[in-house]
Amino acid sequence: MPKPIVLYVKYVDFASEKCGRLAMLLVFVMIGVLLLDAVTRNIINFPLSWCVEMAQFTMAAYYILGGPYSMQMGDHVRMDLVYDRCSEKTKAILDIATSGTLLFYLSCLLFGSVSSTIYAIETGQRKFSMWNPSMIPIKLIMVFGITLMLLQAISMLFKDISKARGQAITHEGEQPTV
């Protein structure tokens, strides 16, 4: 594989991993915010209107930012009736053949997220609720996460191509599918 591609794979995988490991911790934010809500509402009788919405935002960030890392680790389930019986090389070829589906879907997502974010910035969109938060930060986070997901998908494609040619790009962390 040409050197720029090897470098691309290296840096994208690195970015996905860092981003995913950060997203991992968001589970604590979700628990913390919801626990705070339960305590303030029931025990000190001081309901906070922003807690559930904050948790909603956090979950969106959680799965969007965690997506690339989980894909890198092979956590996304596949129907493996045929796939599982193939050799590593055939698997790579199958993935290359169908990579268009993944790239097309992620491109649509990216297009939608960008246009939705531009709309939010132009109109100063806010969520219609008591807390009334701006929608811009979460949309920016989602654009970032989806972009990284697309970059990660391309990185996987490069890896599959090199695997199909019988010379895997060495990388750590990737596991076979469940």
Partner: protein
């Protein structure tokens, strides 16, 4: 192209692409996005992302990552070891007693967690090796663990019922209560099956010799203390929610916190356990949430072409089916599709089509939620596509092969189908408890 043809083309494309082994979320998302673009033109290119905001409004799904987290913490916390020991001593003397005890263990775990992941992890790491050592038949116990852990989505709490509740717009507390009695009934049916089978073929589950379980009655009773922590977790999580004190999403946070505290008290929480838990939680949650995201886009296209009315006219006008025949057709089609397609995605795509019809035919949507969940349980176990199958394959010890796993589920699927028929024939099995609780409120 007629709408029916579009629907069939979409499903067929999805099925073919699934067979290539591409990631499920990519296949579903692609078919949804491509169909949207072909049907509605350029403007529809934003449809996949708009699904993210539908998902956003489905905030009860917050229970999903929290239950996954909780499940992994529980399986590491050592609670299950104590419980297993208690069941071992109390039931070990029976022929097949350890398998019966494992079902008991699974019921307790199911009452603490809303997915089958926790039960699978605990069953495969604690119960399975122990039973193999005692000469239990590997095929039977593999089935026991898969069937037992599937109770996780029927016995409250249940994430599947949360998802159903959002789609059918039904209160989750009522749905959870409706799952309780059928869940216990299903567990009882499993136990009956195991006891009868082991009575007839004792070599499948030899009794544990007396001297191994022999201990003073006082000691034996002390072992029952293993049940205290699970009961407390159940009370703080599900109990407070059913009583209306905590909201649904709060209850899952309370559950996650209490499981973490339990693990801390048992001194099982170290850096390595935390790392593993967080990583697996991210992996499983992302897998499910991306599939749901993609399925929502697919579902929106389906909705747009009027699939609800198409199915209604097919079942009622064209085939002239009675309400019960429609119901049975729905269950059969769901089991069939659940075999080949992803079960979570099926719920998101198919439930919105079926539920309005169920209500229009005069059936109780709460009761249908329970039927749906049992069908889901069956779909989770039937090859070639089932989450429990995947988990089992990833977690099982080496001596258990793939054909073993496939064969192991046959009797349990039969038992579950029988259970499903009981709940269909006697809706009160599901509806008695929610109605009773509604009455005393």
């Amino acid at each position: 192209m007629s709408h029916e043809l579009i629907a069939i083309t979409m499903f067929a494309t999805m099925l073919v692409l699934m067979l290539t082994g591409q990631r499920v979320f990519a296949v579903i998302g692609f078919v949804g996005a491509a169909a949207a673009a072909l049907l509605y033109g350029e403007g529809a290119i934003e449809m996949p992302f708009n699904a993210a905001f539908k998902l956003f409004n489905w905030y009860p799904l917050l229970t999903l990552p929290l239950f996954v987290y909780m499940g992994y913490i529980l399986s590491e916390s050592g609670i299950a070891d104590d419980l297993y020991k208690a069941f071992h001593v109390w039931f070990g003397g029976l022929k097949g007693g350890l398998a019966v005890g494992t079902i008991g263990l699974m019921v307790v775990i199911s009452a603490m967690n809303g997915l089958s992941v926790a039960g699978m992890a605990i069953g495969a790491t604690i119960a399975l090796p122990e039973m193999l050592k005692r000469g239990y038949d590997k095929i039977m116990i593999t089935g026991v663990i898969q069937a037992g852990s599937s109770l996780g989505i029927l016995v409250p709490p249940s994430v599947v019922l949360v998802l159903y509740g959002m789609i059918a717009r039904q209160p989750v507390s009522q749905l959870w209560l409706a799952g309780a009695v059928p869940g216990l009934m299903m567990a009882t049916l499993f136990v009956i099956y195991i006891v009868v089978r082991c009575r007839m073929q004792p070599h499948l589950g030899p009794a544990i010799p007396e001297d191994e379980r022999d201990m003073p009655m006082g000691e034996k009773l002390k072992l029952l203390r293993a049940g205290i922590i699970p009961f407390l977790i159940f009370f703080f999580m599900t109990g407070l929610f059913i009583m209306g004190i905590t909201s649904l999403v709060e209850s899952s946070a309370v559950g996650a916190t209490s499981a973490t505290i339990a693990a801390l008290v048992k001194r099982r929480l170290n850096k390595d356990v935390m790392e593993q838990t967080l990583r697996k939680t991210l992996g499983i949650s992302c897998m499910f949430l991306w599939i749901i995201l993609a399925a929502l886009c697919f579902g929106a296209v389906f909705d747009g072409i009027g699939a609800v009315r198409a199915i209604e006219s097919l079942f009622i006008t064209r085939w002239d089916l009675s309400p019960w025949e429609v119901l049975i057709m729905m269950q059969l089609s769901y089991i069939f599709m659940g075999m080949f397609l992803d079960d979570t995605a099926m719920l998101v795509i198919v439930a919105p089509l079926y539920v309005p019809l169920i209500i229009a035919l005069g059936f109780d949507p709460i009761w249908y939620g329970v039927l749906y969940t049992i069908t889901c349980q069956i779909a989770y176990m039937t090859p070639p596509f089932g989450y429990n199958l995947f988990l089992m394959r990833a977690m099982a010890p080496k001596e258990i092969s793939l054909p073993d796993i496939y064969r192991s589920i046959i009797p349990f699927v039969a038992v579950m189908t029988f259970g499903l028929m009981i709940v269909m024939a006697f809706p009160q099995v599901a509806l008695w408890l929610p109605e009773y609780v509604r009455g005393i409120r």
